[in-house]
């Protein structure tokens, strides 16, 4: 009989390969063969054309910084992805099933780790192989390439193990209470923001400069991470192609410390595994609904303090009390600030306004998907609560519109100010553009609700959600580009306001009709 961890690993693998079950057993072999062919033959043949650039790069001071950041991003991503995936799923029942079965927590952790490993390894070997293939034309030996790939793999397995362990511990900690599950879902999104900052830093190029500067404190911090130990080894190979012996001590030391780190983390993980699957309740206090504050009272007053205002307040309270939703708003604002710092600030003055507004309007379309995309995700049963009541669906649709505006419009206003105030634009123009962006965002709310009613997503992760999200993003992007190209700035912005409102109202009317007929 297979050990328990192997059984779990096998079924984890089967779950992940359910989309191509016919090839699941030959996939690793085929993938390994294809990757070897790609790294050693195909990619080097193509990259030989860029020899001059790569040789300059290896000799530059930026090379070490690049390698550190490159491996850091891989290491951090591999830790983050399992945590995000685990926290987004707030069900505790799978954990209860595990606890009820005769397996040890360490079996579950190792099983999940091994079952997920092939896919992460495949992706990272492909990325690493592409990078290394750039340098094979300079004489990197197969042994150096293989050892470099080993470095990448050790970074990946360490990251994945830490990620799965942290995900299990966090899930068990947060899954015990409704508030904790809420926090988990909020954390699942927020955890990505530092990674996004690093990515933007890379795109802007400033991060490489910072890492490459000798006096900077960033390299010292990075040296604490295993990704930097691995980066050092790979860089020695890149700078001494074909010569494995000259720095063999550093190579052995680098690989050795990576292995010690991995096996050390395995040991620590095995000691912590008991805590990872502990569902002992920590608190029996239920969250209380506090008295309505100033904001709720204002909403009540704005919406005429009748039955409709109660419906608006209900959907708003249900929205705001989910920390996951608030984290999405903070996430979008965080993205706007990061974009301004890393990307938009360096734009030439002539294009700044139009590109900044395009970016922000697109981010608002993204936020609309987050905010109103859940209009039908609680399922038909929730829709039927409204349908059961007279004019219930009409109230639902308009309550969602008001709720969407209450959340999106302040964020749109703040975001517009974040990108417009640092520019050399007059206060009058800042005001006008902010107003325009708020009006466009209001139309995007209508458009998103319309689309999500036309193609309702009745569960948490259906294909309709992704389809609608893509539709909203594509429409908002095309509308902006078409209006700006045809009418220029600023007339194009005001035409965009009108066009997005017309489209938004049309889609809302069509969506409203559709939702009344859903059975």
């Amino acid at each position: 009989m297979l050990p328990k961890w192997a059984v779990i690993a096998k079924y984890e693998y089967m779950v992940k390969t359910s989309g191509f079950r016919r090839w699941r057993y030959i996939l690793p072999t085929v993938a390994a063969f294809a990757i070897i062919l790609y790294i050693f033959i195909l990619a080097p043949a193509v990259f030989a054309l860029f020899e001059q650039y790569t040789s300059q790069f290896i000799l530059s001071d930026q090379a070490l910084g690049f390698m550190q950041v490159f491996l850091l991003v891989i290491f951090a991503s591999i830790i983050t992805i399992p945590i995000m995936q685990t926290l987004q799923d707030n069900r505790v029942s799978p954990l209860e099933a595990v606890i009820a079965s005769p397996v040890r927590p360490i079996d579950v952790l190792v099983g999940r780790f091994l079952g997920s490993l092939p896919f992460y390894c495949l992706v990272v070997v492909l990325i690493a192989g592409t990078f290394l293939a750039l340098f094979i034309p300079f004489g990197m030996s197969p042994a150096q390439v293989a050892l470099s790939v080993l470095v990448f793999l050790l970074v990946v397995v360490s990251g994945l193990w830490i990620g799965i362990l942290l995900a299990a511990v966090l899930k068990a900690r947060l899954g015990r209470t409704p508030r904790g599950r809420d926090m988990g879902q909020a954390l699942a999104l927020m955890i990505a923001l530092p990674l996004v900052a690093v990515m933007y830093g890379i795109m802007n190029g400033g991060l490489f400069d910072a890492v490459g500067e000798g006096g900077s404190t960033l390299p010292t911090v990075l040296w604490l991470l295993p990704s930097s130990w691995g980066a050092d080894v790979v860089l020695i190979f890149l700078r001494n192609p074909g010569d494995l012996s000259r720095y063999w001590q550093v190579t052995v030391l680098g690989l050795g410390t990576l292995m010690v780190f991995f096996f050390g983390s395995l040991y620590v993980g095995s000691r912590l595994s008991g805590r990872a699957y502990d569902l002992e309740p920590v608190s029996f206090t239920s969250p209380l609904a506090g008295p309505e504050g100033r904001i709720y009272r204002s909403v009540r007053a704005i919406t005429a303090d009748g039955p409709f205002s109660v419906v608006v307040l209900t959907v708003l309270k249900d929205y705001v009390r989910r920390m996951e939703n608030l984290s999405r708003v903070i996430y979008i604002l965080g993205l706007v600030v990061l974009m301004e710092i890393f990307l938009l600030e360096s734009l030439p003055p002539g294009n700044y306004i139009s590109i900044a507004l395009l970016t922000i309007s697109w981010m608002m379309a993204f936020l609309c998907v987050f905010v109103v995309g859940e209009v039908t995700t609680r399922g038909k049963d929730n829709l039927f609560v409204y349908r059961k009541a007279p004019k219930g669906e009409t109230r639902l649709v308009w309550a969602r519109v008001v709720q969407g505006w209450l959340v999106v419009l302040p964020v749109a206003g703040i975001s517009a100010l974040v990108v417009l105030v640092p520019s050399d634009t007059s206060w009058q123009e800042v005001g006008a553009y902010t107003l325009a962006l708020v009006a466009i965002s209001a139309a995007y709310v209508l458009m998103s609700i319309g689309l999500f009613l036309l193609s309702p997503a009745f569960s948490d992760r259906p294909s309709e959600t992704i389809g609608n999200a893509i539709a909203v993003l594509v429409i908002s992007f095309l509308l902006y580009v078409i209006c700006l190209v045809l009418f220029g700035d600023p007339m194009g912005i005001w035409i965009l306001v009108i066009a997005s409102w017309l489209l938004g109202l049309g889609l809302l009317a069509a969506g409203g009709r559709k939702i009344r007929r859903v059975e």
Binding site: P178, S286, A289, P307, V311, D318, R321, R322, R378, D381
Partner: protein, 265 residues
């Protein structure tokens, strides 16, 4: 307004509901029945027999594919607003805002049914104390047990004080004490408040105990209608459970443990 015949507050004439792109799934098949004012009527049937679809049609939530039905004199096809105001519904799988407190949820449901503002707070307090939820009325419902949520949902079905109340599996998640309370509530609403109760449940004892008349449906078709005694006698059965199994087709008891010996039944 169409007047229902002979004091019947719910009347259906061969209502049929088909689902699927080519209407290939027949959920309810030519169902004809009457429920009298003040009566407690039970609808029995196995899983997937069309009980919930019938209830949804009678509440104006979905439209019958063919046939006609009236609820409190209102046509379910043409006068849905009157139907909706006349009925309260405890759904089998209700949508619920768990981030609300029960007081907020009942306020929301009251607003949906346009309960006057001067009446609603007092009614909410009375319903919460009736269901022994008064001291937890400000806790969010996400922390409630299934039974407590069910109590809130029953209260929500009553909040606009409708003359007809539909209860789809009202005691399925309740402990014995709460189940007893719901049974007593059904009886009181029928006898003292003259409400018409339409109860659908898998729990035969509940239906037998509280219902004046019972309909049994199987695969969307009505297979029996009458009092528990009439159904038992017509099916030549010992009790209602036996009659139910005979009318809907049950599993042979010998088959139940056949898997252990490896013998095919």
């Amino acid at each position: 307004m169409n007047i229902s015949a002979g004091g019947a507050v719910i009347r259906t004439e061969a209502i049929t509901k088909l689902f699927g792109k080519r209407n290939e799934i027949k959920a309810v098949d030519s169902l004809t029945l009457e429920v009298r004012r003040g009566e407690t009527f039970g609808l029995l049937g196995p899983n997937g027999s069309g009980k919930t679809t019938t209830i949804r049609m009678l509440n104006g939530i979905i439209r019958p594919t063919s046939g006609q039905a009236w609820v409190n004199g209102y046509d379910v096809l043409r006068q849905t607003e009157g139907v909706k105001l006349s009925t309260g519904l405890l759904a089998e799988t209700p949508g619920m805002y768990e981030k609300l407190s029960p007081r907020e949820y009942l306020e929301f449901m009251g607003a949906l049914y346009d309960v006057p503002k001067d009446v609603l707070p007092r009614r909410i307090d009375q319903l919460l104390s009736l269901f022994k939820l008064g001291d937890r009325k400000d806790e969010l419902m996400e922390g409630y047990s299934k039974g407590m949520k069910q109590k809130v949902l029953i209260a929500a079905a009553l909040v606009h004080d409708p003359p007809i109340i539909f209860l789809d599996e009202p005691t399925s998640a309740l402990d014995p004490r709460a189940s007893l309370m719901v049974k007593d509530l059904i009886k009181d609403l029928s006898e003292k408040a003259n409400k018409t109760m339409f109860v659908s449940s898998h729990i035969l004892s509940l239906i037998e105990e509280v219902c004046d008349r019972i309909a049994i449906i199987n695969q969307g078709r009505l297979v029996a209608l009458g009092t528990a005694t009439e159904i038992r006698e017509a099916a030549n059965a010992m009790d209602l459970e036996d009659a139910f199994m005979r009318l809907t087709g049950g599993v042979d008891r010998d088959e139940l443990l056949a898997w252990r010996s490896g013998d095919a039944p």
